[in-house]
Amino acid sequence: MTDSTPDLPADLPADEASEVTDGAYRPAGESSEVTETGYLPAETTADPPPVAAVAPSDLLPPEDVAIDIRNLSHRFRNHLAVDRVTFQVTPCSLHGFVGPNGAGKTTVLKLICTLLQPQTGAVRVHGKDVSRDTKAVRRLIGFMPDHFSMYRQMTVTEYLDFFAAAYGLGLADRRRVIGDVLALTDMDGRRDSLISGLSRGMQQRVSLARVLVNDPDLLLLDEPASGLDPRARIELMEILRALRQMGKTIFISSHILSELAELCDSVTIIDRGQIRYSGSMRNLLEQESDTTAFRIKVPGDQPRIENALLGLDEVAAVTRIEDSDDYRIECAPGSESANRLLAAVLELDIPIEGFQKDLRHLNDAFMDLTEQGVR
């Protein structure tokens, strides 16, 4: 079950923990030592670590959640694409859906959006079964596939007007809705442009605008940021945040883990058709960590800092992060308060440029939970 209010250290909110820095934007868990090879877990084996499946007792009633998937399986000839999948997505949340290539993400998305019929198990959207109430479900969802599904010889307005008309919107509603979605996606200035002449980022925005014309409660986005440049990607993420604030539930499948970690409240990791994790993002990043750890950033080389920190009662261990000015401080049992640790460090008169809770990166969690090899 998704939990959008994760447990935090008693006296330091999660948001603050990620922003006590030297002023630069620094997301929680982002560290400079993380390299391409660093993501690989030391003992990657054929058997992934056992993961707590979503217990039936943890599941909320289907009417109370945006997406309710129970014991869902789907087979393509001899290939079992989805294997007894169970998870839920709470309303008004931004839920990430992560998995390696061929893990079954797109199949699950297509099952949710009624493009495929479930073979076994049940999929419900706001309590409505996708097999029985297909039409009602389609009214509730907006699906953006991982490719540009667009009529390129139309202008932006024609494209949106066509979809709004197909949903049966009246003339006044169409004018209002198209104006709104164009404003939201910042495409108002290109309303008369041919879609074929738009950049990839703009086409993605038009695609998102199209998804929004029927005002769906649930947005299903398959790899929305793939192929976009960094600016377009950041802008897209901003739009998604705005949509969440408008009360939409967003279910987003993506490979760009750093952005998902920063954007999503909750996450589901799928591998080889099976759910490896489903729950709050914070819980995932804190999972399997026996001790509470913080990370401080100091200016330049400070040879005495390691010994000074070890001298504190609150500190159990100090490790310098390779090739950086960061130190990882593991707290002694019973001294997990960020405020107390920070106060103690400040008393040592060490110049500090940044201080944050040390979380696992989503990449690490992903690598730990999924199997190695091409699928």
Partner: protein
């Protein structure tokens, strides 16, 4: 160069081996041959045909001619355009393959496949010699003729493929290259008839025949005639071979200029957009309302005006000239007035919100405007069909027997041409509507709309029918012109016959044939739609070939009917029995053919729906 060319050729051959469509096509050809063999045998049994070998060989020959002509329009025309559409032509160039290498590498496998398909038939058609009526020399001559013809079609297809941006455009160019010599020859015949006997004109007419595909028809009819004893290698073969070489060289020469600029939708789309956006359905409707009274005035006033100019009596002015004048007014006046109306109305480049029709009609609106061409497409078709009517009227006027103008003759031509062109147009529009959805991966978004898949399919047909208004108008006018003589014939039939069941059948014959024709048209449209969802290029042509195949099956049904004729002869001693067999002979093949058509229509409809659902879940 050789390495790159070989790599392309091997890839092409491998690709063709893996495509099930190629095997299906070969299977279809074999099936047609088998049927022709059965038909020839039945004809021999019922004593219609005297030499089954010649009959069998004639069927195969003309089937081959149809296959090569239709195949050439799709098979060879995609040689270079497929690389353009996939945007891989630049990669081939970057890989160091020069234009000649690309042309040889792309055309080679296609040519090899086509020639192999022809060569493999050769041992089997020797059966015609055993069956009687055909000589070995005739078989050799026919296959040599076809070899030359294949080379010509390959050259023609390659040139069109180099020039055109898309396969569809290339196929249209080849179609034009087939039809234009025929029309030119007709026009020259008209000049010849009207007194111009310049030797250059005769030579030009002959030259057109020998360089075009129509020399194949002349050559085949000469070969299949009794007493043929010429050499297999004749002028047609050399002309076609030379023509093919010239076309290949031209393709090579223009390859670089034609493929230098990569094609983008945005470039071509923006230009056509400017025109398309300013001419809308209402604009066109208004222009038609202005032009129609003008056309009537021209028709009424033309004889007097012409008489005033030439000093003749108005009654001596040929009617076809008035018809041609009206068609010219439509073809030239309508676009001018449409542009004027559009300029007055000052339409914006983009459409306003609310122009799209709502609910299920939104899908019809989309396909009508963005697949069938919208108002501009309709305008183009009105111009085309008006010009065609004018040409037909002119030809009838020139070739008429001097007994006066015959409206029903013009009506018959208009009905025939309108029906044929309309069928092709409908199938092409429906097929393209579906192909575009597959190509742009939009089926998944359409499938999620509140409209069902069936509603989507019906909207495609409806938009195709709306785009058919010009062709339908031409057909309707033709039908109305034919109606008086038809009504007379029916009244005569009623007066002549009694009230027996056999007389009723006689009256029902025409509606029965019309029903079958409509069913066959629908079948052709459904086949095109199905192939559009299955193959990337040449779906209309494949549907045409399949319809031809079904007509061969229909021919089989006809043969069965002829068996019944012979059975019917048994009842000649008994008039009541003979009448019964006559009724059976008319009804039985019709019921069989209608039943097969209806069953196929239902099966194809479900197959198309299931295919769309499958593709939507995949895209």
């Amino acid at each position: 160069m050789l390495r790159g060319t070989m790599a392309l050729m091997i890839r092409g051959l491998r690709f063709d081996c893996r495509r099930w469509q190629m095997h299906a096509l070969r299977f279809l050809l074999v099936a047609i041959f088998l049927f022709t063999l059965v038909i020839s045998w039945i004809e021999y049994v019922v004593s219609i045909g005297t030499s089954p070998g010649l009959s069998f060989f004639s069927y195969i020959t003309y089937t081959n001619f149809a296959f090569i002509t239709l195949g050439g329009m799709s098979f060879f025309t995609s040689a270079i355009t497929e690389e353009k559409e996939e945007q891989t032509l630049g990669l081939l160039k970057m890989a160091g393959v020069n234009p000649l290498g690309i042309l040889l590498g792309k055309l080679g496998p296609r040519l090899a496949n086509a020639l192999l398909l022809l060569a493999i038939q050769f041992p089997f058609v020797q059966l015609a010699v055993t069956l009687g009526g055909v000589h070995h020399r005739q078989i050799q001559a026919v296959y040599v003729t076809f070899a030359g013809f294949i080379f010509l079609m390959a050259g023609l297809g390659l040139l069109a493929s180099v020039v055109a941006r898309r396969t569809r455009g290339a196929a249209l160019m080849v179609s034009a290259a087939i039809m234009i010599p025929l029309i030119t020859q007709m026009v020259m015949a008209i000049f010849g008839r009207s007194g111009s006997s310049h030797p250059l004109l005769t030579e030009a007419r002959e030259a057109i025949v020998w360089i075009s595909i129509w020399s194949v028809v002349e050559r085949l009819s000469a070969i299949l005639s009794l007493g043929f004893d010429d050499s297999p290698l004749q002028l047609q073969f050399y002309c076609h071979l030379g023509g093919a070489a010239a076309l290949f060289l031209t393709s090579w020469f223009i390859f670089e200029p034609c493929t230098r600029q990569p094609h983008t939708d945005a470039e071509s789309g923006q230009i056509s957009r400017q025109v398309r956006s300013r001419i809308r359905l209402r604009t066109l409707g208004l222009a038609i309302l202005i032009v129609l009274p003008l056309a009537v005035i021209v028709f009424v006033a033309y004889p007097s005006a012409r008489a005033a100019l030439t000093g003749q009596q108005p009654s001596f002015v040929p009617v076809y000239e008035s018809v041609a004048a009206v068609t010219l007014v439509l073809a030239l006046g309508l676009p001018l007035i449409t542009i004027l109306v559009a300029a007055v109305k000052r339409q914006s480049v983009g459409r306003d919100i609310g122009e799209c029709w709502t609910n299920n009609w939104s899908l019809v609106w989309k396909d009508l405007h963005f697949v069938s061409g919208g108002a501009v497409g309709l305008l183009n078709r009105i111009i085309l069909y008006s010009l065609m009517t004018g040409v037909i009227a002119g030809l009838i006027g020139f070739f008429g027997n001097g007994a006066g103008w015959d409206w029903s003759l013009l009506g018959g031509w208009m009905l025939g041409v309108g029906l044929f062109a309309g069928t092709l147009e409908l199938a092409s529009n429906v097929g393209r509507g579906l192909r575009t959805e597959v190509q742009w991966q939009t089926l998944s978004t359409l499938a999620l709309l509140p409209q069902s898949i069936r509603a989507m399919l019906w909207s495609k047909l409806l938009s195709g029918l709306l785009a058919l208004i010009p062709a339908a108008t031409m057909t309707l006018i033709g039908f109305l012109l034919l109606l008086p003589p038809m009504a007379e014939a029916i009244v005569e039939q009623i007066e002549r016959t009694g009230s027996g069941f056999s007389d009723m059948i006689g009256l029902l014959y025409l509606p029965m044939m019309i029903t079958l024709l409509i069913l066959e048209i629908l079948l052709f449209v459904e086949l095109t739609a199905f192939f559009a969802l299955t193959i990337r290029w040449g779906y209309v042509v494949l549907a045409l070939i399949c319809t031809y195949f079904m007509n061969t099956v229909g021919g089989f049904a006809w043969s069965m009917f002829m068996i019944l004729v012979s059975v019917g002869r048994l009842g000649q001693g008994n008039p009541a029995g003979a009448a019964f067999y006559t009724q059976l002979m008319i009804l039985a093949p019709w019921i069989v053919a209608t039943g097969i058509c209806v069953a196929l229509l239902i099966a194809l409809y479900h197959a198309i729906e299931s295919r769309v659902r499958h593709l939507a879940s995949q895209s």
